[in-house]
């Protein structure tokens, strides 16, 4: 859970189930905006697919055709809750496909099949078609945690699944670690210096807009993302006209998914961008409280100091 190495693009685990998914979307957004050939893989369980953050993240990634590989390790239990008791549709790949992305179910007990499916998915993503989803159908032999008495399943079920334990199955085979290739990371452009001179009659709204315009002009890494910031011009008209000036990539209308796009802003900041995440009102921010509290405020600590990032939420 607490392993973390940002220098290797490994952004750790997350104790809040599905909480890392919006961040993965944001890392992919930063790569997309910088035309970097990276793919962001995020690994989660069947339990995460019942969380709203999965659905917000899947929609965002598919909508913006971002290079995300969603890897769902379906081990048939969300802690102690069996798949059929947590999902109305237990075919998780089918649910993911409804977002308009390629989604495959794979035998998660077959290492070679997982490697092959992953390679194919990454090729698809690098082809520019947007995210892919792999449902890796697998099983957990041991209890969920050291406190888990494991009373929710039959011992015979465990024994049956052990017959397809992937480790002995792999042991007799020759492993070919030919999947990953390092990719060069593009460097973000240095901020230009600029100074505005004012001494004019204005309003609070116009002053805010000018602050946005100034930041967008001075630093190419700055972008604005949120509900109705673009074509509508901002709920309070703060960003009116900025879409025409800076284009839809940098004045980015987001779907109504506060947790998803706030987390994406955090991920994009980790990816070297300077996102301005606009949440329409403080009431809506409660839907993003998990991302603000559990991710934005703790990543410096959780990453052992390796993730110092700049992110603004207005």
């Amino acid at each position: 859970m607490h392993l973390f190495d940002a220098t290797r693009r490994f952004y750790g685990g997350n104790a809040i189930v599905a909480g890392g998914l919006p961040v993965a979307v944001g890392l992919a957004l930063a790569d997309h905006m910088n035309a970097r050939p990276n793919v962001t893989a995020c690994i989660f369980g069947d339990g995460a697919m019942a969380e709203g953050e999965f659905h917000e993240s899947a929609n965002l990634a598919a909508l913006w055709k971002l290079p995300v590989l969603f890897c769902c390790e379906n081990n048939r239990y969300a802690m102690g809750t069996a798949l059929a008791r947590e999902h109305a549709q237990t075919d998780l790949a089918t649910r993911a496909a409804s977002y308009g992305m390629i989604a495959w179910a794979v035998d998660g007990m077959d290492v070679e099949a997982v490697a092959e499916a992953t390679r194919r998915a990454v090729d698809e993503i690098r082809g520019g078609g947007g995210p892919c989803f792999l449902e890796l159908r697998t099983y957990r032999f041991r209890a969920h945690s050291m406190y888990d008495p494991d009373r929710y399943r039959e011992k015979s079920e465990i024994e049956q699944w052990k017959q397809s334990d992937p480790i002995p199955a792999l042991a007799g085979q020759r492993w070919r670690p030919d999947m990953t290739k390092p990719t060069a990371a593009a460097t973000a452009a240095a901020p230009a210096t600029g100074a505005a001179t004012e001494g004019l009659q204005t309003t609070y709204r116009e002053a805010l807009r000018e602050a946005h315009r100034d930041a967008l002009t001075r630093d190419p890494r700055v972008f604005l993302m949120g509900e109705d910031v673009g074509r509508y011009g901002g709920c309070f008209a703060v960003s009116l006209g900025l879409l025409e000036e800076f284009g839809p990539e940098r004045i980015r209308d987001a779907p109504l998914s506060e947790s998803g796009f706030t987390g994406a802003g955090i991920g994009a900041a980790l990816g070297g961008m300077r996102p301005i995440v606009e949440i329409m009102t403080v009431n809506f921010s409660l839907l993003a409280m998990d991302q603000i509290l559990n991710n934005a405020a703790t990543l410096l600590h959780m990453s052992g100091g390796s993730c110092r990032f700049r992110w603004w939420c207005g």
């Binding site: 309003t203 900041a269 403080v282 600590h301």
Partner: protein, 211 residues
């Protein structure tokens, strides 16, 4: 993001929850109350190593004024004294600043000189400016549109009590939003929010607690 009440948007669009975010270590929380701060806080926020949240009170967007030359950047660390005074310290932020300055003007006409502090930065709080003012005036009124219980106003009152108790000549006064879901009806909403008359009355109590 937008915060605050006063526009008849009722119980689900009128909160002042910035104090909740000010509770969280790892964040910087800003509340621009002036045109200069609206213009100047964004760029330093983007340079800050920590995530920054900026709360814009919804009543402020049409605020009109002159932006001084060279106002493209302001500090995002310090509170500001918006009106100097000697008799009572009035501490506020965001959308309440205008009401407090109005109240201070009324008090001045009565001969009470209020010092008005605009917090600007809700986390981390600028204790230095708050305590210096309290040690000078010996009387405090805290004005915060948010609910009173477990609030930013409670935190400020606690800090003053911890660090400047013996400098106080009167109990700390608080003027806060009524602890109800914010009403829709205009007259009820007005009654639920701090108003200049409430602030004036609290300042009078602080200055003459035995009257």
């Amino acid at each position: 993001m937008t915060t605050g009440a006063g526009r008849q948007l009722a119980a689900q669009h009128s909160h002042s929850l910035e104090g909740w975010y000010a509770h969280i270590p790892g964040l910087r929380v800003l509340a621009p109350a002036t045109i200069e701060d609206a213009r100047g806080m964004l760029w330093p926020a983007l340079q800050d190593p920590d995530p920054v949240l900026i709360f814009e009170h919804s009543s402020l967007y049409n605020l009109t004024g002159t932006l001084p030359a060279g106002a493209a950047q302001v500090d995002i660390a310090r509170a500001a004294v918006r009106r100097p005074g000697t008799d009572v310290t009035m501490i506020t932020y965001g959308g309440s600043l205008g009401k407090v300055l109005t109240a201070a003007q009324t008090l001045a006409e009565e001969g009470i000189q209020a010092e008005v502090i605009d917090l600007r930065v809700l986390r981390p709080l600028d204790d230095e400016i708050i305590l210096a003012s309290v040690r000078s005036t010996h009387r405090v009124v805290i004005i915060d549109e948010a609910w009173r219980t477990g609030s930013l106003s409670a935190e400020i009152a606690a800090r003053i009590a911890e660090q400047a108790f013996y400098d106080l000549d009167a109990p700390i006064e608080r003027v806060c939003g009524a602890e109800v879901p914010t009403p829709y009806a205009k007259h009820l909403e007005d009654a639920a929010l701090p108003q200049p008359a409430d602030i004036v009355a609290a300042a009078r109590r602080a200055v003459a607690p035995n009257e």
